[in-house]
Assembly symmetry: C2
Homo-oligomer: 246 residues x 2
DNA sequence: CGATATCTTGAGGAATCTCAATACTAGTGG
DNA sequence: CCACTAGTATTGAGATTCCTCAAGATATCG
């Protein structure tokens, strides 16, 4: 794909070119749109544009003007913050149904990049905010969403500030597995669309330590490493206990 | 004070016993109430109760049912999360105007304790939530608030995951000084109502490391340690640079 | 099937932690 | 007003976890 700018033209398609994308929307029932009734959906639809990004592409640049709000439709992405010297902290991995860009500042304080091929539903912020004022259920939904993200963020602070490498990796795997289960059948084999280095930057560790910890959990027969992107959790209970620091 | 329970009776006073507490409220212009017009304030006032807590007292127990929302009126407090074995991560220090207990779950995922003598304005959650549905400006304000807290939380993740001890301490002092300045005149001498162990649990360090880092910054003539609770920032610029990792 | 990136493993080093002793501070009672 | 006590902060020495640097193994993609 010939797109280099985060808000590129290639891959962008007007909602109407997809017919009634909201009707066919895969995440209609889990995203924020789940709150909306048909006439409201119609208004939202007019603002929405589906965007496609290739694996590795930048979606948001840290510090760029905050012009859009996105809803993840398909794929996975990483959200991160950088220090001047390049140190990176990944603050979250987003999956279908998640929101990206819910800020009320002039600019984004973080960057976002595609981990896989990604489809996003994009809304211009000013228009979306007016809509928000008119649809109270939507505003409430965002508030609930933000508050739950805040709780997750505090969990991550506990992890980063007080957990050991083993506990961090176990927490990550446990949370990622739970998340997959929420939208599919209970599966012990989980897919990790991110690299070891992404995991490291999410857990405040180095790639080497993440790798060693995986090996250690494998040796303890808690995990089975199928290939770098697929892990089978042999002892979900134990993983959870390790994650909780027991 | 004879109060032992987090939702104690002693020290609790009905709003009316204080006359018109909202009119005299010290944080009327900075808290969420700043959004409200007079008739709305009247409705809020009926729900509000002023609570007093002594230094060290518990305000919220981690895991307790989330029955109230609080607005800090006076004093300072710590919000934290615990692991089963007692490891603690302080997720924030609250000051007048800050919200405590903005959750839409059944229970609090965190604890809160008074660092100094504290006054809180307390609202029962169910009633507050109905009020929220009727006062859109209030709901919007909470959303903006939550989103800005989320940004702060991500800053803290960057700190915990990727900064050195020196950078963490500098970040903390810089942020705390900025915060004090926002409500008072620019002062280089800042008050730290929390202990070294609180600072350590906030920064993901040990008390010893925090103490050593203070000493180090003092030796570099960046700080002056007046007493354990008072610090003078001799080089605000340098503190900020160290905090940013330059 | 080969080139390249990613992942794993190893050895040594550094930052921070742990344990222990000393110094300071604040509050208490003589 | 001062000495005493309990809690908090600082300093020191050694241990430990995790990081850094480097090499080898494995997977991915054209």
């Amino acid at each position: 794909m010939g797109k280099t700018s985060p808000i590129g033209q290639t891959g962008e398609r007007a909602c109407k070119t997809l017919g009634h994308p909201c009707d066919a929307c895969e995440i209609r029932h889990i995203g924020v749109c789940a709150e909306l009734k048909d006439p409201e959906i119609e208004r939202v639809r007019r603002l929405a544009r589906i965007q496609q990004y290739a694996k590795g592409q930048s979606i948001i640049e840290q510090g760029a003007p905050a012009e859009f709000l996105y809803n993840v439709v398909r794929g996975a992405l990483r959200v991160f913050r950088l220090l001047a010297d390049g140190r990176r902290q990944i603050t979250g991995f987003l999956r279908p149904g998640d929101l990206l860009g819910l800020v009320f500042n002039e600019s984004y304080a973080y960057g976002a990049e595609a981990l896989t091929e990604v489809s996003l539903c994009r809304f211009p912020r000013p228009e979306f905010e007016s809509l928000l004022a008119e649809i109270p259920t939507l505003e409430r939904r965002l508030l609930v969403e933000a508050s739950s993200e805040l709780t997750q963020a505090q969990d991550q602070m506990l992890l980063l500030g007080r957990k050991t490498a083993k506990e961090r990796v176990a927490s990550f795997l446990s949370a990622w597995a739970n998340r997959a289960e929420r939208r599919g059948p209970p599966a012990t084999t989980i897919e990790l669309p991110m690299s070891r280095s992404d995991i490291a930057d999410y857990l405040g560790l180095t790639t080497e330590t993440v790798s060693r910890t995986f090996t250690q959990l494998k040796a303890a027969r808690i995990l089975k490493l199928i290939d770098p992107t697929h892990v089978e959790i042999l002892q979900p209970q134990t993983i959870y206990q390790v994650a909780s620091g027991e």
